[in-house]
Amino acid sequence: MSAIEVVELTKDYGDVRANDDISFNVESGEIFGYLGPNGAGKTTTIKQLLGLLSPTSGTAKILGADIHNEKALVDKKESIGYLPDLLGFDEEVTGQKVLDYFASIRSDERREELLESFDPPLDRPIREYSRGNRRMLGLIQTLMHNPDLVIMDEPTVGLDPLKKDLLHKLLESERDRGTTVFFSSHVLSEVQRICDRVGILRDGDLVTIEDVNSLIKRGGKRVRTRLSKDLDLSDFVTDDMLNVEKVGNAAQFTYTGKVKDLLTYLDELDVEDVNITDPQLAEIFKHYYNDSKTKSANKSGGDR
């Protein structure tokens, strides 16, 4: 069973269509990255999944509960953990009291274990908390009842690099225990690091949804090479090379063909040095982003 099933979900605010006919599934036990720049509509999708916003049309199921059925959805929230992008707590109460309050509504079997990794000053009132401390408190309440599904909206914002790393490891171990993680982010490197699949959202449209590895694979290889002699660009470039930049006898490009063929070709050219790496998701993201921009420009042009 899919942990999340989204079917033609649309949220129209009148002047803005924050989610436009979005459909996707998140399978149980995977880390799904929901990627897009700020304002793309990621939070709108999450809020609809949790019943905070009602969709204009379309629907979704979360752990099998229809989001239009409040009772079913409320029951399922026993097994869901949510970390919102903007965290609001009662400022005058201490972190300890906040956790006690949340624990009284839902269980907190893993509170102590989580406090070993994330350690906000629990005896101090929230108004004295730094951004990172607020985020850590939020993380503890998200995970302390050992949820089956974790929904996180920009979870690492405000965390220092060490805590970010801890969170990434924690989410991976959660996934290995069978927890489903739905994770929205505009930070590409973390999505690339921990997500199994990724959905890319732009201006309310789901542009693509793919396995992170195949997305990277399809993005070709990033190649940097130095040749023994300076060649004309036209003599050097093949059909499988994209974004070629050549200065003197050094060149870098994205290669979409087979690596074996590339090596044979470079060998013939008497190559001195070659460095082949996976492209950064950022580059692929840019590609989708630009591509869809053109598409949506055409679409709105057609509408007129």
Binding site: K47, Y82, G88, R106
Partner: protein, 261 residues
């Protein structure tokens, strides 16, 4: 079940205690003035024609402890200021939590919107009980200290019958809290609403042709002078207020259930 009520009730305990102490002190302060007011009032009334005395609320409006309490403590402070306190706090209840991003988190827990609004509103039971239990005792003691007497039942009844009135104030604040999108506006509107409704009920009572407008004001149904001076307890009016509370509360709940957070 009831975790929200317990948490919110505990949070209200401190402000309720402060308010209770403040009101008790204020009431005692006013009571301490009564002997000189009585003396002055009696002298003044003696020289006035009946029609003028009637305008001021009749003989005894200020010169009996019951009339003095009703006018100074229960109309001004209880009906207006305590009413505003409840409406203002209720105006914050929903919209402030939404604006401060607290509602998102609570709604990600296994609680329904209905449960949230019911339990959060029920937490007003703490200030309602505390104020209505402590203030009359303080007033009774204060009255004894200045050598006056008052029938305890009248004091009990004025507080008991003020509860439906204060519940309506809560409902008005709550309604604003679910329909207005900014906490600050909801809070200001709640002050305006309670004060405005009180003024309307006062002004209208003098304009004979427009008395019906007064029927929509909650203070029309809560009359401290009648309770304290005449020991007239109008249960019909209290019932009307209770019905108004439930109608506005249920309307607010239905709006909240459908609201985008």
């Amino acid at each position: 079940m009831f975790e929200i009520l317990y948490y919110e009730g505990k949070r209200r305990l401190r402000s309720s205690t402060v308010l209770t102490i403040l009101f008790s002190a204020l009431a005692l302060f006013y009571i301490s003035f009564f002997p000189s007011v009585k003396e002055m009032g009696e002298e003044m009334m003696a020289g006035l024609p009946d029609a003028v005395i009637e305008m001021f609320g009749g003989l005894g409006a200020f010169t009996t402890i019951e009339g003095y309490l009703a006018a100074e403590v229960y109309i001004i402070f209880w009906t207006v200021f305590v009413g505003i306190y409840f409406a203002y706090s209720a105006a914050n209840l929903i919209v402030n939590d939404i604006q401060k991003e607290k509602m998102d988190l609570v709604l990600s827990y296994p609680v329904s919107r209905r449960q949230i609004i019911i339990e959060k509103t029920s937490a007003f039971g703490v200030p309602l009980l505390l104020l209505n239990a402590v203030v009359p005792v303080a007033i009774y003691i204060g009255i004894s200290l200045i050598g006056e007497t008052i029938e305890p039942l009248r004091l009990v009844m004025v507080h008991l019958l003020s509860i439906p009135y204060l519940l309506v104030c809560i409902a008005i604040g709550l309604f604003l809290s679910v329909v207005v999108d900014r906490a600050k506006i909801a809070r200001y509107a709640s002050i305006g609403a309670i004060f405005g409704l009180y003024l309307i009920s006062n002004i209208i009572s003098m304009a004979k042709n427009f008395e019906w407008i007064g029927l929509i004001t909650p203070s029309h149904y809560f009359d401290p002078p009648k309770i304290l001076r005449q020991a007239t307890y109008n249960y019909t009016n209290a019932t009307i207020l209770l019905i108004a509370f439930f109608v506005i509360f249920i309307a607010s709940m239905e709006i909240f259930k459908r609201k985008d957070i």
